[in-house]
């Protein structure tokens, strides 16, 4: 056997897949060529050795298990198609179920809105507290520079007790 084509023809001849004319050519070379005879012998023997491979047997109950699997599959398919094809019921129990569902949804919505309002007010109040404090202390803040120059409240009190501020008021009245 030298070329791929010749090898293919030889294997096809052994498998009975060669047309009569090509089969005759192979038979002629079998008679004339010892190397072709050797190749045919080896190809045949190696192929026959595959018979040594163990034959497999299905385990007990394989067929039954397979039939059970198809029955299960069929019943599941039927159940699915029944669910899909089932008409929509419009009974009173359906209406009441829907009402309950819508009630729950509405309660959830209003609850959410209430919580949001509370949260907003709380946040606003928390933010407004520093502003109220500033407004109360506004007169002090407006004269803060003067107060800082004086430096001591006790000193102011002593001036007031000495009647200094009264004198200024009297002068203003004059």
């Amino acid at each position: 056997m030298s070329t791929d084509k010749e090898k293919e023809e030889l294997v096809a001849y052994l498998d009975g897949e060669l047309p009569d004319e090509a089969a005759s050519r192979i038979e002629k070379s079998l008679v004339e060529d010892a190397s072709v005879r050797r190749d045919v012998e080896q190809l045949t023997k190696s192929f026959d050795l595959l018979d040594l491979l163990p034959a497999s047997q299905a385990s007990d109950g394989f067929a039954e298990k397979t039939l059970t699997a198809i029955r299960t599959q069929s019943s599941e398919t039927k159940a699915e198609s029944t669910d899909a094809d089932a008409p929509v019921e419009t009974t009173s129990s359906n209406y009441s179920q829907r009402a309950i569902v819508w009630g729950i949804r509405a309660a959830a919505f209003f609850g959410l809105m209430f919580a949001a309002t509370l949260g907003f007010n709380g946040a606003f109040r928390q933010n407004s507290e520093p502003i109220d404090e500033l407004l109360t202390e506004l007169p002090i803040l407006q004269r803060l520079d003067e107060y800082q120059e004086i430096g001591d409240v006790e000193f102011l009190k002593s001036l007031n007790e000495s009647g200094l501020f009264n004198e200024r008021d009297e002068a203003a009245q004059d």
Binding site: V11, A12, F47, L52, S56, A58, F62, T66, I70, Q73
Partner: protein, 216 residues
């Protein structure tokens, strides 16, 4: 040849009793399906076992093949012999399974060892075996192991084509239909498979030939 005779020849597979059974399955005849399972379970499991080397996985795949046949029953059109159709499903399942196994191997090898070009364990084993060479006549069990390892050296498509040819006695055109190949492609595939098998088993064949000649 008249057109009527030609038509009969073309539809010869309609006389296939398993096609008739499958037509009954198409009409939801569960008993007919059971008959097909009984008839083909060992053949299908046999092919899968030789391809996968795992009898449990072979049974799972065989069951999956039968389930696919059953699921497709209402769409079944008798356009070939039943066995051809069944083994086409089987071939697709085996190919998908081998692909997913190869992908898993690739992922684990990438993590474990960068040398992915090295020989497979069974190749190592075959090399060890061939290094021993048959200086004595192997017993049947040892020879069986050698044959199994020789079959493993074939690639997946060569192995499937060879198994269908050997154990299902399929013609080239039926193998072509089962494996979605041309007849010429099957011819080439089988030639390479037979040649590779011969090369693997040659040392043992020579021993056997010598013994035969000595006996003579």
């Amino acid at each position: 040849m008249s057109s009527a005779t030609h038509q009969i020849d073309q539809n010869a597979w309609l006389r296939d009793p398993d096609v008739q059974r499958m037509l009954r399955v198409r009409d939801d005849d569960e008993a007919a399906f059971g008959e097909l399972v009984e008839a083909y379970q060992n053949r299908l499991i046999g092919i899968f076992t030789h391809v996968l080397h795992d009898s449990a996985a072979a049974e799972d795949l065989a069951q999956e093949a039968f389930l696919r046949v059953y699921r497709a029953r209402h769409r079944y059109q008798p356009t070939a012999k039943f066995a051809t159709w069944l083994f086409r499903i089987a071939n697709n399942l085996a190919t998908n399974r081998q692909r997913s196994v190869s992908r898993r191997k690739e992922v684990s090898l990438r993590g474990a060892d960068s040398d992915s070009q090295g020989p497979r364990p069974e190749e190592n084993l075959a090399a060890e075996k061939s290094a021993l060479m048959p200086t004595r006549q192997l017993d049947k069990e040892e020879m069986r192991e050698v044959v199994r390892q020789s079959l493993d050296t074939l690639n997946e498509r060569q192995r499937m084509a060879l198994l269908l040819n050997k154990f299902e006695h399929m013609s080239y055109s039926d193998i072509a239909a089962s494996m979605d190949l041309s007849v010429q492609a099957v011819k080439s595939l089988l030639t390479r498979a037979r040649e590779n098998l011969r090369l693997q088993l040659e040392p043992y064949l020579t021993g056997s030939c010598d013994q035969d000649s000595k006996k003579k």
